[in-house]
Amino acid sequence: MKSLVLTNAAADDPWKRRRQQSLRWLYSLGGFAATIAMTFLGLLAITFVIGRVVPIDPVLAVVGDRAPQDVYDAVRAEMGLDNPLIVQFIQYVGSVISGDLGMAVTSQRPVAEELARVFPATLEMATLGILIGVLVGVPAGVLAAARQGSWIDQVIRVLGLAGYAIPAFWLGLVGLALFYANLRWVGGPGRIDIFMEGIVPSRTGLLLIDSMLSGDWAVFRSAWSHIILPATILGFFSLAYIARMTRSFMLEQLSQEYVITARVKGAPERVVIWRHAFRPIRIQLVTVIGLSFAQLLEGSVMIETVFSWPGIGNYLTNALLNADMNSVLGATLVIGAVFIGVNKVSDLLYRILDPRAR
């Protein structure tokens, strides 16, 4: 009997196994970095190709269409456009990495600089949106699963469908008509009332925080009344998605044996649900929330356009209308990079947080 115990213990010495696991983890981390690099390169390739297939001749944009042929050729050579495509691509990647996204045609300023200026507005709205999505969506999903078939479950189901079927820009317009024009509950388009613009110094670029730092509550209230509707609409879409995923994760957990074990131990239902069923899915939720945040950034393009929100989405659609290709590609690149980055980081967090994957 004694020897049996010993051999067993040696066969699966947890320390040894842990060492092997952490080694394997390192390898998978290497592969992970490689996929990220590949994905970013892919993004660059796509924007590069889009830049190439544009019917607008970038040389003409510089020299004008009445320039003589030799000037045209000289500019073309100077812009590197007579190099082979692969060389052009490498040059393109190089300039993007060094932060050069070209000049915006309309404003004649560097695209990178303009994007840096508008990005905080998007970040602010998206962050508030995801907060709403998580703070409402997660508890709602948990409750829906705990009381399957109850009214809250039905509401979650309907919301989930609505999140798939309602166009964000339309919901934005309807929201403006209802809550701004009719009920006067919220501020209208834009980030802040016009007469309050530029009052507080920009430290973080996030108006809510800047106004708090300056202690200017009138500005804060104005900014809040402007941001709350678009952020709620963005949050609604991530809420619908997060609640639906939370619910299905929870249902899976609630049917697990260890949830029964918790009940056998005499755990109150609150503990069964939050400690035993919910805790294991926190890690999965990190991925869902990351994905949702990325989608929300994408959705903000439409919402910003509807609400004239001076963020990167609005910048992108304005550039589209002006056929300002450098700006369009720059914005696409930045949104794409953040989208990919958020996704990959949440993927990475999943690997770090799960004790089973470690």
């Binding site: 994905t39 609505a162 798939y164 309602i166 166009p167 309807v174 299905s248 990325a294 439409m302 369009v328």
Partner: protein, 301 residues
């Protein structure tokens, strides 16, 4: 002459391949009809088809001709959904818009599903470096934000329905490639595939005749589920002025033109939105039901 009876259809020991196929379809349709939400979805989709087919008959007014005397009228018995800034009947425009929506959705499906199927089955069938290259490409596209990518493509190709369709198709095929590859891998080494290969069938023949048909059902389910997303993206492009161009009665473009009047004449922008919501919902509900029937493993709970 065989008789088409319930007993013949549900026979556990079908005598012919046709009977087996018919029986399976029969059971699926019955299961689908037992799901009330799926039926609602189906009714909406059929409604869309009917409206699109008989648009000129159903629409009380012309969708294009303006009537400046009747600008921005509120919904009434004459104009159920009111009129827009050029005095056109919104109800009639929505009915005609069904054709455009249906056309966009179908074109995207017809372009992206076969592309995805081809890439996925080829990758799964050959494996090795073919698989790695094709799936690497697929994954790159999969990790891009779809709407932004479509926007950038339309920006490059120029606005218009055709380009919008192409741009959306470019962003949707990777999902089908992933599904088709996963499906292909499950039977890639099955006996029946080796049997066909030993009969001397070419790779092309194996892929097109034997592998693709087996991947069809899961692809169809996914396409149906994606329809709602495609409709929303198309409407979004229309809203930004990158899709269908005026005076075409595309729903997204109609919302866009109603935007200027949203505060006073709410119906101009609101009505086309309802059409989008209902049709997207129809595809969602039907797709969910279809998935439950065809693929019970991923049942929505």
């Amino acid at each position: 002459m065989m008789q088409l009876s319930h007993a013949w259809l549900v026979d556990e020991n079908p005598e012919t391949r046709f009977q087996a196929g018919a029986g399976q379809t029969y059971r699926m349709v019955r299961a689908l009809l037992r799901n009330p939400l799926a039926v609602v979805g189906l009714v909406i989709i059929i409604g869309l088809l009917v409206v699109a087919a008989f648009a000129p008959v159903l629409a009380p007014y012309s969708p294009i001709e303006s009537n400046l005397g009747a600008r921005l009228l509120a919904p009434s018995a004459d104009h159920w959904m009111g009129t827009d800034e050029l005095g056109r009947d919104i109800f009639s425009r929505i009915i005609h818009g069904a054709r455009i929506t249906l056309m966009i959705v179908l074109l995207v499906a017809v372009i992206s599903a076969p592309v995805g199927l081809l890439v996925g089955t080829v990758a799964g069938y050959f494996g090795g470096w073919v698989d790695r290259v094709l799936m690497g490409l697929t994954d790159v596209f999969l990790s891009m934000p779809k709407l932004i990518l479509a926007l950038a493509f339309v920006a490059a190709l120029g606005p218009g329905i055709e380009n919008a369709v192409i741009a959306i198709a470019i962003t949707t095929w990777p999902v089908y490639a992933r599904i088709a590859r996963a499906e292909t891998l499950t039977f890639r080494n099955a006996e029946f595939i080796s049997a066909i290969q030993m009969q001397g069938a070419s790779h092309t023949r194996v892929i097109f005749k034997h592998i693709m048909p087996l991947c069809l059902s899961s692809t169809i389910v996914r396409v149906t589920l994606d329809m709602a997303g495609i409709i929303l993206t198309a409407a979004g492009l229309g809203f930004l002025g990158l899709g269908a161009q005026p005076p075409l009665p595309e729903w997204g473009a109609m919302i866009s033109s109603g935007r200027a009047f949203i505060l006073d004449q709410w119906w101009v922008a609101t009505m086309p939105g309802f059409a989008i919501v209902i049709v997207s919902l129809g595809f969602c509900l039907f797709g969910d039901g279809l998935r439950d029937v065809l693929d019970p493993r991923n049942r929505t709970r």
